[in-house]
Symmetry: C2
């Protein structure tokens, strides 16, 4: 089963477009976990176990693990997800951007070492920076297109001729040329629903990973209506901090589950 | 001493614009090192010790270490450089591209954990993806501008109005807006000397990191003449494979030194 098949199966089995982002920040952990040597793994494992049946994907952000020298805990976490929640694909959010032999090393890191089902990548260096990952035919590649931060407009909204914007060009490149084996998806932020609709119009049913709801303030109704595919799916709507840090005490995983459930239901109310 | 001061001092002290790239690939290692648990560190340390007085910078590429679970050896390598060759700045080549809290984690990884003097970053997500690093005032930030791979043209050469190309816009953004404290530099490939000259014209004396000589086929004379600053410096001309794998036997470090010396001299012949 490849990434797209696994994602489609999870959308259906869990009736969910919610992607749970795993951004472990020690300073926000419940006090009883702080100081434990494997606190990062324990925290994320509790979140994963509490939300797996509500999620279409998990998305660990590698920067949080790397800053803490916790690569081994990231490996253990992904192994835990595969062993205990095999229906839920794992997206390694690393936004890699490099070419040739170097990209091949990043692919080994993501797919062989961490055993991620999909990886986020940056398009600035062009097709050479995407191609090496495509050899891993059962894995997905999620290309940055339109990001939800204010500075996202600095480059992505530049007019590249006839009113066409850079992010629209990236969407079209990915949909028409960079996806020979059906492995691709795109990152499109939730803060600009009209642009999400633009991208959906360009790429047909390609899956879209949508950060920016929750802490970043994107509106769920507008996001779902603008981004859903013809079948009422096609989205991985990512929420991290709002779920992870919903509670501050020993019952943090229960609090996370409540927020995840509420988010899943709110999303589903606007899917069809 | 900040990154720019350290780099300028190394240009002068070592009379060199050569940046030695550290891309450890086990399959290319001399046979006597293979199978050793710290082979990556031992190989890179030997290269570093053999070339430090010929170099203006060392540039470890993190993908090679990450694919091998060798983060600890990367930490040890950079600590070795700082302890034994303190005049030579270390550029962590990681091409990070993320925003806000996540970029702050990448900054901790690069500057606190690895203690790099500078980091390469990707501009696609805009100023928010650069700003968090600027809090580390003594460190450098080297922004991708025009890369030396064929697919580099896919986005970077797009016309954004009046014949102006995306990479030229990035060069101007970095020179005028993204560099409030003098920490920035740019990555510009060696394979397009006219574009290197373009960028030099836009950014004044800003340092340029130039990959693409050696294995990627860029011409040294054209590169130096197109990219040098008014003072005959301003460049970190990076060579990795041609130096690292110059020899295949126990004398690999001597072979690396010979190639590094030859490259340094060839570069210097065209500086003024």
């Amino acid at each position: 089963m490849n990434f797209h098949q696994k994602l489609t199966a999870a959308w259906t089995a869990h009736d969910s477009l919610l992607c749970v982002g795993l951004d472990p920040d020690l300073s926000k952990f419940p006090t009883h976990l702080r100081g434990k040597p494997d606190a990062v793994f324990e925290f994320c494992r509790a979140i994963v176990d509490a939300t797996a049946d509500l999620a279409c994907a998990f998305k660990p952000q590698i920067a949080y693990f790397a800053a803490l020298r916790a690569e081994d805990q990231l490996e253990a976490l992904i192994a835990h997800i595969h062993a205990n929640h095999p229906a839920v694909p794992v997206i390694l959010d690393a936004k890699r951007g490099d070419i040739g032999a170097t990209a091949a090393q990043y692919a080994r890191e993501a797919f062989e070492r961490y055993k991620a089902d999909a990886l986020t990548v940056n398009p600035y260096m062009g097709f050479d920076s995407v191609e090496p990952y495509l050899e891993w035919r059962d894995r997905g590649l999620i290309v940055l297109c339109r990001t939800s931060n204010p500075g996202g407009s600095d480059l992505q909204n530049l007019d590249i001729g006839q009113g066409r914007k850079l992010y629209q060009h990236v969407a079209e490149l990915v949909a028409t040329k960079w996806n020979p084996h059906g492995q691709a998806a795109l990152v499109v932020g939730a803060t600009f629903p009209q642009e999400l609709a633009d991208v959906r119009g360009i790429v047909g049913d390609l899956p879209l990973l949508v950060p920016g709801i929750g802490a970043q303030g994107g509106d769920i109704e507008a996001t779902v209506k603008a981004g859903r595919s013809a079948a009422g799916a096609g989205l991985m709507i990512s929420s991290s901090r709002a779920i992870l840090y919903a509670g501050k005490d020993e019952d943090f995983a229960d609090a996370a589950r409540r927020v995840a459930l509420e988010t899943q239901k709110t999303i589903n109310a606007f899917r069809r």
